[in-house]
Symmetry: C2
Subunit: 382 residues, 2 copies
């Protein structure tokens, strides 16, 4: 890594969505010059980052030009082709996470192979391409089964819960490479966010509960209410082990199912994650600052909470495009509510922001976050 300019290090983030936007808040404090690769100048992060470069993350030439002068390259999403990441590393760029780690967040089959190899708890799974293979899998593990696109799915897209062979048939018609997993009858969903730096330091945030609706995270409760301390420690141990085994540099979010038989790993993400947005207002070190520190191989920050209970609720676009006429009520109603808007025009169902409430009592804090989120989205008073 070259020496920094007198102004500080330069970090290049491929992608310019809300994760890059919120990373800018931490970059400003750390004296990090944040550069993003955007598709268009009106994307969420491009609105707030001076050094926005326009280009196509699927083109190696664009990535190479973007990377010039950066002390570290990282990602706002997981869609950069693995071979391009290898090429950038071969050029000498510090790409964090590297291709050998990131592929586990890009390819669900590679992830399952690797995780099962070192005993991380996973559901039964198999690569499949025909109904007969899925039926054979279901004969062994039972219906329903979960079909997943091996690459490219997110927010519930690319996932099909199938109860019959004819439902499997439908999913297979999409033509994308698929895998099947045993359906996990879970009690709730948890997430563990950890950070790992190139020199091997790791930290874990408290385990949180994530509440999903239609495959989209709507609420995060920190810490996960009523979680047995031993289960919490085990979840953190598994997440740190995955980060270590995979050689992750930067953040790793491990989504898990809590079941009567223990924890099961669901998905991985290697970047700041929706389940960690609560850390901006509720932790001494936000996940965005932590990610910057990790990719620059700086010592990691304290993941401790700044209040006993923190609840984050996502804002999804409603039918009314004028978000800001509902701004005032929410601020007046609750002077402690923290609002985070992503600079995106409202479209129904689109993630346009989030709200965070902190306090001592879960029911109260959760009601505050929900009130703000529902009112901002719908204008309805809960």
């Amino acid at each position: 890594m070259s020496a920094y300019s007198p102004i500080g290090p330069v970090v290049g983030m491929v992608g310019a969505g809300q994760l890059a936007r919120m990373t800018q808040q931490s970059a400003i404090a750390l004296g990090v010059e944040l550069r993003v690769l955007a598709n268009t100048p009106d994307e969420s992060a491009a609105r707030v980052i001076v050094d926005t470069r326009l280009g196509d993350y699927r083109e190696l030439a664009d990535l190479r030009e973007f990377a010039g002068g950066c002390h570290a390259i990282t990602f706002d999403h997981e869609h950069v082709p693995t071979e391009h990441i290898r090429a950038l590393a071969a050029d000498g760029f510090a790409v964090r996470p590297g291709a050998d780690a990131l592929v586990h967040a890009q390819d669900k089959a590679v992830m399952r192979e690797r995780l099962t190899s070192f005993g991380a708890p996973c559901p039964a799974w198999a690569r499949v391409s025909a109904v007969a293979e899925v039926s054979a899998f279901a004969d062994e593990h039972g219906w329903p089964v979960v079909l997943k696109a091996i690459r490219g799915g997110y927010d519930g897209r690319g996932v099909w819960v199938c109860r019959t062979p004819s439902e499997v048939e439908e999913a297979l018609q999409t033509g994308v490479p698929l895998m099947v997993e045993a359906f996990v009858p879970f009690e709730r969903e948890l997430a563990v966010l950890v950070a790992r730096s190139p020199h091997g330091q790791g930290v874990s945030y408290p385990v949180v509960e994530t509440v999903q609706q239609d495959g989209i995270c709507v609420e995060v409760l920190a810490p996960a209410p009523g979680l047995d301390p031993e289960d919490a420690a085990e979840a953190q141990r598994v997440a740190l082990q995955i980060a270590h085994e995979l050689g992750v540099t930067g953040l790793l979010a491990v989504e898990m199912f809590q079941t009567s038989g223990g924890l099961v790993v669901n998905e991985l993400a290697m970047r700041p994650h929706n389940s960690g947005h609560w850390t901006i207002d509720g932790s001494r070190t936000s996940q965005f600052e932590q990610h910057l520190r990790a990719v620059l191989d700086l010592p990691l920050g304290s993941p401790s909470m700044s209040a006993p209970v923190v609840v984050m609720a996502n804002l999804l676009g409603g039918d009314d495009p004028d978000l800001f006429k509902r701004y005032e009520h929410v601020m007046a109603h609750d002077p402690g509510i923290k609002l985070h808007f992503y600079g995106k025009e409202v479209r129904p169902g689109r993630k346009i922001g989030h709200v965070t409430a902190v306090g001592d009592d879960l029911d109260t804090v959760r009601a505050r976050a929900r009130h703000a989120a529902v009112y901002l989205t719908t204008g309805e008073y809960t």
Copy 2:
């Protein structure tokens, strides 16, 4: 005020120093599009704000062009000519604070006249232009006396503590309009930061102690240690009264002396203030978010602290320009320390950033902040 775009309101801040830079962190969360008027593109805020306009804040034409399309105009410093602010308001722009308020932070004599008119505690003072006038004042109030430039002083510049008529002579030779004040034998310096919105809502942050060296604030302790709750309430009452009487919109920082005879108002600032930097990490609402909310006439946020004790220490440039080689030690030594760099090249004595520590015990928290600040500046281990 015109309706907001789907993306949010636009706030124009005249000046592009670290106050505008840190305001951007809050603007990103609130969905506020922040525009700044900079002298050069490498100023602190210009590095992190996309909508940076270059121009001269002393030129009305530049200010008018800058203001177009802004829902509110506010300031990173107090140097914009009062008559230009009046002209912008006459054009229909929402300038906050307005000229009639801001003049009290620009002109110390106007400030003293007004404050004494409604009984805010001030030292004896007079406009002066000759040694004989100062000597007459000293005959009544005693030596030493404090000579101040009526306009333009800051960080100890434009202030002369004179013990003899010959020292007065020297100060008078600068040629700027001066006033004299009785020297206040204070026990310590306090500051109260309040916000007031155009519709009249006011909030006060806890009273803090500010520690000065050579006229520059080096440390802020929140809350002011051992301050009698009645004195704290009185300080907040005085600050809110000043904000109300002067019609302040936005933030008002009131610097006070604590004396054996009670509180005395020293200086006013109408913008985010060094004595409020601790709020980024130590309050539920940072002063920068509060200022944006106030100038947009939105309901104000909670000023409550997120930890029992918060200490902020300024980073002043030392002899070694390479700040970032000392980065790692400080982060490794104290994972909870919060670093804030202003994107400025190091020059001896220049404010280049600040650090904040939070916790339960004043001595511990203060030692942590001081360790980080001293090490970053000098490389010395305290």
